[in-house]
Symmetry: C2
Subunit: 137 residues, 2 copies
Amino acid sequence: MAAFILHPQLEKDSIFVRDLSLSQLRLNNQKTLPWLVLVPRRADIRDLHQLDAEDRAQLMEEIAQASKALEELYAPDKINVGALGNIVAQLHLHVIARFKNDPAWPAPVWGRLTPETYAPEAIEVIKNKLGNEKFWT
Amino acid sequence: MAAFILHPQLEKDSIFVRDLSLSQLRLNNQKTLPWLVLVPRRADIRDLHQLDAEDRAQLMEEIAQASKALEELYAPDKINVGALGNIVAQLHLHVIARFKNDPAWPAPVWGRLTPETYAPEAIEVIKNKLGNEKFWT
């Protein structure tokens, strides 16, 4: 069985927060919006249906946990969830807090935000908030 | 418990194909790309994490079934899955066959395609193909 290796583009664009049971939880380094990325630690998977049924069920639970964490921490107007991967094919799930006054609303955010990375101190604050065990058990 | 009523915008933009165990399977009436929409028949649900755990697991299976059906019928380069709902908040999942030569590639398709509806005969052909029991059991 091939080993999971995080795609270098995902590694560059996002910050490791913690490992969940199946996925790496990462923070997209785009400070405009609270934007999480879940990367299932499975090799050679491009699309959801290529995961086995157990992994699919677990991934859905991790999506729900990530959604609830964003809701509790940021009180967004809507959660957007997406598995696109047209540029980076390695399966990764976006879970994004959207607000009626965000710069892309109501359009999808992909490709519509000016790149703006977090300050290092801000990353630590968010990682501490997101790392709270209560969101992931 | 409130009854499920399909949002009129979803009814207008897409065509009923069949009921799955949880969701209505619908075909987006946009002929540029094979584009399915799953609408869980649950009232007052906006985001995935508001479904109970059993429904979430079932929805993931229906996403996988829809993905496999698109893969078998159209051999796409990538499947895109998304739950956005910034315009129509009722929970609905997009499962879309993407091609490297499609007019929006590699960007997401939402808001990037010229509206083009199917001819009635084409709809019947697709509904027959998609309705094949093997994809949904």
